[in-house]
């Protein structure tokens, strides 16, 4: 399995997903060889980290799992790969010369390249280098299926397939359209498409993503399977007690303040609610390239006394934020899955989520709105704040619902896909 992060070194939702999935797979008797690039403390690159590591229970000592962990082989490779910063940090390459020819991956691999210690200066070089390493590993190790997570590892997956002849499964956690809207990075798109074309099966985290894969990448729908993400179930949060200092109800946005997450719609909806009811406070937790614009807009609208920015939150701060919240809003413009509403619901916070998210497909106890429909969003927020019966139902059943979304079930579906590609040959 090729990933780009794995607990405890995680920067985002993908690490969480890989961890949960791996745990589930091990439990169902699959042996996993996990390959990740290791990042060497370049702090500035971690700036856009959004979900804190402490959200995930990383319990390697858990007795129930100890036995399973023996089946896991874990390989780290020195690398700078940090995909979330892809656009901001590594976008300066103009020619993309190394990428044009994919055959390069298998032919040029050499051992000294791996250990040279000269890390690539741009993202694409890193991706290529990771692919070279992958083909080495593929030649040395025994396995039945190759599983690659997101575009950064697709070249690695393809290289491994070429070397070993084993079937390739690529996992779409997010597409370039989710990250960038219509202004896609063509190089990334090309890698995604080539990876999926070369793959024997594509796993998408939602039907929403599946549609994008089929319609915008032209992938044969017969080999695209949806496996919804799940959520880790922690039990130890109970001792965290937060005293609410404000009398008003709190409505929270938590995530990267970027185009994809739709923070601007949240601000507009806040204005509508505040026009009617001043006894509400809105909180935007997180940072990102749209943050300054949001601050400016809040000032323009004259709602700054009731709209607060916390900046980037991590660790316990996130849990506290959930505990302080009366409503959680995820207005994402395009969200392949979106795990944060599940975390809010786990803390008994009712959620409003956009229909343009994968998580909307699996949740019953959530209010679903179109991200652009700020009137509906405002109305949903108002309803949850004012009509007691509704928030009661959501608090009570939302938590129960989240608890039924287990990685074990997702893992069963993934191993079904493995069986399909292994026995097809």
């Amino acid at each position: 399995m090729f990933g780009w992060e794995f607990p405890p070194h995680i920067t985002g939702g993908l690490g969480t997903a890989c961890f949960g999935l791996t745990k589930g797979l091990l439990k169902s008797g699959v042996e996993v060889l996990f390959v990740v690039p290791k990042s060497y403390g370049d702090e500035d690159q971690r700036a856009v980290r959004l979900i804190n590591a402490s959200d995930v229970s990383i319990d390697f000592t858990d007795k129930a799992y100890q036995e399973h962990w023996k089946q896991l082989t874990y390989i780290e490779i020195g690398s700078n790969l940090i995909p979330y910063v892809g656009e901001e940090e590594f976008s300066n390459f103009s020619t993309g010369k190394e990428l044009e020819n994919t055959s390069e991956y298998s032919s040029v691999f050499s051992r000294q390249y791996i250990f040279s210690g000269k890390y690539g200066k741009n993202l694409m070089e890193e991706v290529t280098r990771y692919a070279l390493v992958a083909s080495t590993i593929a030649g040395e190790q025994q396995f039945d299926v190759i599983h690659a997570h997101d575009w950064l590892t697709y070249p690695a997956g393809m290289a491994a397939k070429k070397v070993s002849g084993k079937p390739l499964v690529v996992h779409m956690h997010a597409t370039e359209f989710d990250r960038s809207g219509e202004h896609i990075n063509q190089n990334v798109y090309d890698i995604e498409r080539k990876g999926m074309e070369a793959a024997d099966a594509v796993i998408t985290v939602s039907n929403y993503t599946r549609d994008i894969v089929v319609n915008r990448y032209g992938i044969n729908p017969d080999k695209v399977f949806t496996v919804h993400n799940a959520v880790e179930h922690t039990s130890g949060d109970a001792d965290l007690v937060v005293e609410k200092k404000v009398r008003e109800k709190v409505v929270t946005f938590l995530g990267r303040v970027t185009f994809q997450k739709g923070p601007d719609y949240f601000v507009e909806a806040a204005k509508r609610v505040l026009d009617k009811d001043k006894n509400v406070r809105f909180v935007m937790a997180g940072s990102g390239d749209m943050l300054n614009r949001m601050v400016l807009r809040v000032a323009q609208l004259g709602i700054s006394t009731h709209f607060h920015f916390t900046g980037f939150l991590q660790g316990e701060e996130v849990d506290k934020m959930f505990l302080l919240s009366d409503v959680y809003v995820m207005p994402s413009v395009s969200e392949p899955f979106g795990i944060s509403p599940l975390e809010a619901m786990r803390s008994s916070v009712p959620v409003v989520i956009s229909k343009q998210s994968g998580v909307a497909e699996v949740l019953k106890y959530a209010l679903k709105i179109d991200f652009w429909d700020i009137d509906a969003m405002a109305d949903a927020i108002y309803g949850l704040l004012h009509y007691e019966a509704l928030s009661k139902v959501f608090r009570q059943f939302g938590k129960e619902e989240v608890e039924t979304l287990k990685w074990d079930n997702a893992a069963v579906k993934v191993s079904d896909v493995y069986n399909k590609v292994v026995f097809k040959k």
Binding site: L367, Y382, Y387, L390
Partner: protein, 551 residues
């Protein structure tokens, strides 16, 4: 001669428009006219018009040998009036044949029978009057919303003067017994109860086009064979169904119209069954036994209970909040308030909030305007919030309270001053509504309050009725005097005395009450405690005595 009894339910709700919270207090129009018109026209063309014509042709062909019955909710008649007068005409034509019986039900297809006897009665009366107006005959048989029935509800219906009531032949009440007899109510044996044969009814209403069903395709030959196989001692087969079955739930292409067209001929020529209406059956048959229904049943879902409308937190909350307004609504004679109050009670609004999935949910899913039960709840509650504001604005007690600052001479603390400004501001904003309400209110209070005092009497009687002693002298007293008058007054006495008083008198008295006194008065008012004429007279004498001292 055994009988077949057809009863068709015709109902459409006034669906609510998307009503956002920022409309609360500013926009008082609640209904989606466009959608309601569209759906009404669509069903009129697909079902009501062609099916009414088909029935009329059958009646013309077979004469009194073919009969059916209908129940039309008041809301559907309202919609006919507004959107489909042609349908209303076709019903009038059917009524004129004398072969069609029209049943009574609640005006807005409401669940009032489960909550308020008074409202239930008002709604039934209103619907009966409407039916009588158009079809020239007051209904004698009753069917409740969704065939909801219990011993208690049956007894109430009997008290209203109905002889017959229709309900579901639910297994949980019948056990081994057959629905094909007439039963009587457990509390009042004068009320005859006709039970739906749900198997045969649903064969037509739900399974007609279901290709996986063993009985498919259903022909009149097959159907008449089935009913001929029923033990000949059994007396009646009650086929109760939604009228929208014909052409809407079962499309024209399924052959449902042809089936209905051929059925009477087949029945009359190949069986000993004849067609009767509920009231005819009630006269013809003798009740076989008493049917015990301690808990309400309905014709919905596998469970045949109320869980489609009530039971989850959202439905219960909305229902409780709505009916908590009942007394206040009755104090306000504003026509629009009364109409909205009726339409908001329509059971469909609560149905949309249902969180369980139904095996027969498809029937209602058709025109469900909401994506989720939560949206249905939020929308309803937004509207209800606005309705409450309007109600409070128009309510006599609050009306007086609002006027208070201008009339009071007492020194005012800065705090109340602030509140007053705020209150004035609100008044200004709503000036239009309040103003129109004001004029109406003055008329309203009088009738509404008299009605409360003497609920049995009609409006006409109460307005002509005037108490011997009036409190008009109050108006002659100056402000200091008034303050003195109210100082030691017993609030309950005052409440009684003012129950039937002139509005001017009322205002004068109430505006001079102290803060706690006013609170106490409002409490009595909202509790709506009954007042008799004797109470009023007695209380007035007490107050008149103190007034005389002052003059």
């Amino acid at each position: 001669m055994r009988s077949i009894c057809f009863y068709f339910q015709v109902h459409q709700p006034f669906r609510l428009r998307t009503y956002r919270f920022f409309d609360i207090g500013t926009n008082h129009f609640y209904f989606d006219d466009y959608r309601n018109r569209y759906i009404m026209r669509r069903i009129a063309d697909k079902c009501y018009l062609p099916m009414n014509k088909l029935l009329l042709d059958l009646i013309n062909e077979y004469g009194p040998a073919f009969k059916v019955s209908f129940s039309l909710s008041g809301t559907v008649i309202d919609q006919f009036e507004r959107f489909a007068p042609d349908v209303l005409d076709s019903y009038i034509q059917l009524a004129e044949t004398g072969c069609v019986e029209f049943l009574a039900e609640t005006y807005s297809h409401s669940l009032s029978s489960l909550r308020s006897d008074d409202e239930f009665k008002r709604q039934v009366q209103a619907q009966s009057e409407k039916v009588k107006r158009y079809f020239k005959k007051a209904p004698t048989a009753f069917r409740n919303t969704e065939l909801i029935y219990s011993d208690e509800i049956g007894a109430k219906v009997a008290n209203m003067g109905f002889k017959t009531m229709l309900t579901e032949g639910a297994k949980q009440i019948l056990g081994w017994r057959s629905p094909n007899y007439m039963y009587s109510n457990a509390e009042n044996s004068d009320l005859h109860v006709l039970l739906k044969n749900f198997r045969l009814s649903d064969d037509i209403a739900f399974r007609f086009s279901q290709q996986s069903w063993e009985g498919w395709p259903l022909t009149t030959e097959k159907f008449v064979d089935w009913i001929n196989q029923i033990d000949s001692a059994q007396e009646t087969i009650n086929l109760f169904m939604d009228y929208e079955t014909f052409g809407e739930h079962q499309w024209k292409e399924t052959g449902i119209f042809e089936f209905m067209k051929a059925l009477p001929g087949r029945v009359l020529s190949h069986s000993d069954y004849r067609f009767y209406t509920p009231s005819e059956l009630s006269d013809k048959l003798k009740p076989k036994a008493v049917v015990y229904v301690p808990h309400p049943i309905s014709w919905a879902d596998e469970e045949r209970d109320l869980t489609a409308w009530l039971g989850n937190e959202l439905q219960d909350d909305a229902f409780d909040k709505l009916y908590s307004l009942e007394n206040k609504v009755k104090d306000v004679a504003d026509e629009q308030i009364q109409l909205d109050w009726k339409y908001l009670q329509t059971s469909d609004h609560f149905y949309y909030m249902c969180t369980k999935w139904f095996s027969d949910g498809d029937v209602h899913k058709y025109f469900n305007p909401y994506n989720s039960p939560y949206e249905a709840y939020i929308n309803f509650m937004n509207i209800l919030s606005d309705f409450i504001i309007r109600l409070n604005d128009m309510h006599p007690v609050n009306y007086v309270e609002v006027e208070r600052p201008e009339l009071n001479e007492k020194p005012i603390s800065p705090k109340t001053e602030k509140a007053k400004t705020a209150a004035r501001k609100t008044i200004k904003e709503k000036a239009k509504t309040v103003k129109s309400a004001e004029t109406k209110n003055i008329k309203t209070n009088k009738t509404a309050l008299t009605e409360k005092a003497k609920p049995v009497k009609t409006k006409k009687q109460s307005s002509s009725m005037s108490s011997k002693s009036t409190l008009k002298d109050v108006l002659k007293i100056n402000k200091t005097g008034l303050n003195q008058l109210v100082k030691d007054i017993d609030i309950k006495t005052l409440y009684f005395a003012l129950a039937d008083a002139d509005n001017k008198v009322k205002k004068t008295m109430i505006t001079h009450l102290g803060k706690t006194q006013l609170k106490e008065y409002n409490k009595l008012f909202t509790e709506n405690i009954p007042v008799t004429e004797a109470d009023i007279e007695k209380a007035r004498k007490v107050i008149l005595a103190s007034i005389r001292k002052l003059i």
